[in-house]
Symmetry: C2
Subunit: 107 residues, 2 copies
């Protein structure tokens, strides 16, 4: 597998509980930066930083609506993350199978 | 969903390309710290730090064998990570379905 920066950045974006909560909140529908900041007890700037990180990996998109900035879920579906995990698990399972067969043969 | 530290730490552990490569390498079988450090061009201490992070979330286990420390894949199967992603995707799909029904109704 090659080095994949999307993977680095998406895993990192998801490693923060506030950013995961922002995503969870947005599954209920769009929200402005201000609406998101309040329940998290974050400043607008603090929240903007988190949203910026999520936006950079396509998990969130934002749009200016009047004087507010509206956030909604972006097009990224974390396919690369799940595909990496699936491959890892499959390779591991294959190795365990191979090891089981080896033990069987030696009986 | 509650704050889940395993989730924070597992996503963070996976956000580094060297740590992912260590996991990929270990799907081929156990390796000592020295054997892992060499192909990555890392010092033993640099590698130990990465392995320590993976060990803390159960993705790797290590065992002293003679004078070396052998690493192998640990019991963690990233269930919490995949379960979080699955829930997120399901909630989002449900919302999109609901939105579709709403648009249909108004036609």
């Amino acid at each position: 597998m090659q080095h994949n920066e999307t993977l680095d950045r998406t895993f990192f974006a998801l490693s923060d509980p506030t950013r995961r909560k922002i995503l969870e909140r947005l599954t209920d529908g769009p929200a402005t930066i201000g609406e998101l900041a309040e329940p998290f007890g974050l400043t607008l700037n603090g929240l903007k930083k988190h949203v910026g990180l999520l936006e950079a990996v396509g998990l969130v998109t934002t749009e200016k609506v009047g004087r507010a900035r509206e956030c909604r879920l972006g097009p990224a579906q974390m396919e690369e993350v799940t595909s990496w995990i699936d491959t890892y698990r499959r390779d591991w399972a294959r190795r365990l199978d191979g090891f089981g067969a080896f033990v069987e043969e030696r009986r």
